[in-house]
């Protein structure tokens, strides 16, 4: 019962965080594609965020107003920050990989920049974007175990309790479901990625 609740909490944190990261990351990646200069800066910032150790990140968030503190909120904020990089980067790479001939054809046929983006570039970049979301989700499921350190809940609660009590079985009861979640997410999103690639005519 307890395990079920904690797994649900864990999933909830991850889903909310990855959803926010998609909503911010895909536009950011698109922007980086359109404006090389500003885009480079955005990429370097998300890169830098990625290098902050997760435990330290949660620590940094505790004293911050609004986005920080204790509980689920700083946990979600931290996970969003970690999820951004793979999504921004894969969006950018997916857009850059669109065949320049196809782009030229679209322009020559009379598409506006916006039509080119929505009708050609983004559909063709979708499999790459989903690959980024997959990496973000799997990472987030792992990092979310640390969220328990700031009272974020989730399966990390069992792990931290197990560490404190030197109880391997308790640690495993948190770690195994977390690993399983990551595997399932990886599998499901890989499947989606392949199906999309096939539909987009790449595979």
């Amino acid at each position: 019962m307890n395990l079920l609740r904690l797994t649900g909490e864990h999933l909830l944190i991850v889903v909310i965080a990855v959803t926010i990261a998609i909503a911010a990351g895909v536009p950011l990646g698109t922007f980086a594609h359109r404006r090389r200069g500003a885009g480079g800066v955005a990429l370097r910032v998300t890169d830098a965020v990625q290098t902050i150790p997760s435990l330290a990140m949660f620590g940094f968030l505790i004293p911050l107003p609004f986005i920080g503190g204790i509980g689920m909120r700083p946990a979600i904020v931290a996970l969003v920050l970690y999820s951004l990089l793979p999504i921004v980067r894969s969006t950018l790479v997916g857009l850059q990989r669109v065949d320049p001939h196809v782009r030229e054809a679209a322009t020559a046929l009379g598409m506006t920049g916006r039509q080119l983006l929505w009708q050609v570039e983004l559909p063709l970049a979708t499999p790459a974007i989903v690959a980024g979301i997959r990496i973000a989700a799997v990472t987030a499921i792992g990092v979310a175990t640390i969220a328990a350190a700031v009272g974020g809940g989730g399966l990390g609660t069992l792990i931290f309790r197990g560490v404190a009590m030197v109880d391997t079985r308790l640690i495993l009861s948190g770690a195994l479901p977390a690993a399983l979640l990551a595997l399932v997410a990886d599998f499901a999103l890989t499947l989606l990625e392949r199906r999309l690639a096939r539909r987009r005519g790449e595979a």
Binding site: D99, V102, A108, G110, V120, L124, G201
Partner: protein, 240 residues
């Protein structure tokens, strides 16, 4: 009335190289013109000036007697067909959806688009019942290029621009597609870039020879063999 006019047009590359050097040229409505030249001669640049994919560094381009700079490029391009060596079909769209691209941009209703696509594909010997729902990756190179021609021709553009559309195809298919193109674009002003003198003679009534960014010959196809310019003579000799 001229379809296309180059007035003293030069194009300079970002690295300072001259791609096109003070070209002046007029193409009348309904003419079929081949731009002939070796690679790097400036013929593709000259072609892309017409639909604004390349902008002149100096001089003026006129399309239907109106300066290109004063026209809405997006609207203009929807009325100009464009076929490249690389078919560049949209890989995520079916054959039909590829061909329907410009009609949809123009807001045609689906029935009209479907009829026009079916008629055109029949003419290109690519029956829509068999090919309409396929994706480009399931087609051969020649079939893809037919779809590219259909995509360019469906709205009956006033101008058709072709940039070596057949040079990647094997000789048999090339000849077949040349005939189909002539048939399909019978009423369209055609500008056709090629490095193959035989193809130029076959398709065009007038041949403009480019070398190092300049026009070195501009002649009726029938008179090409008598042209004096050494490069033209080499081209003619290569055709045997």
């Amino acid at each position: 009335m001229s379809a296309v006019e180059y007035r003293d047009v030069s194009v300079t590359a970002p690295n300072g190289g001259v791609l096109l050097d003070r070209v002046s040229l007029t193409i009348a409505r309904g003419e079929r013109v081949a731009y002939l030249g070796r690679s790097g001669a400036g013929k593709t640049t000259a072609l892309k000036l017409i639909n604004g994919l390349v902008a002149p560094s100096s001089g003026t381009m006129l399309i239907d007697d109106a300066p290109l700079g004063e026209q809405d490029l997006v609207a203009l391009r929807r009325g100009i067909g464009y076929v490249m060596q690389h078919p560049a079909l949209f890989p995520h769209r079916t054959v039909f959806d590829n061909i329907a691209t410009v009609p949809r941009l123009l807001g045609w209703d689906e029935a009209r688009t479907r009829d026009a696509a079916a008629a055109l594909l029949r003419q290109l010997e690519l029956p829509v019942e068999r090919f309409g729902t396929r994706h480009p990756r399931m087609l051969s190179g020649g079939e893809q290029q037919r779809v590219a021609i259909a995509r360019a021709m469906i709205v009956a553009p006033r101008l058709l621009l072709c940039d070596e559309p057949f040079s990647a195809l094997d000789p048999l298919i090339r000849t077949e597609l040349q005939s189909l193109l002539i048939e399909t674009a019978r009423e369209t002003t055609l500008v056709f870039v090629t490095h193959d003198v035989r193809e130029a003679l076959r398709i065009a009534g007038r041949i403009v020879v480019f070398d190092a960014g300049r026009v070195v010959a501009d002649t009726a196809s029938g008179a090409l063999a008598r042209h004096e310019h050494p490069l033209v003579r080499r081209f003619v000799a290569s055709a045997g």
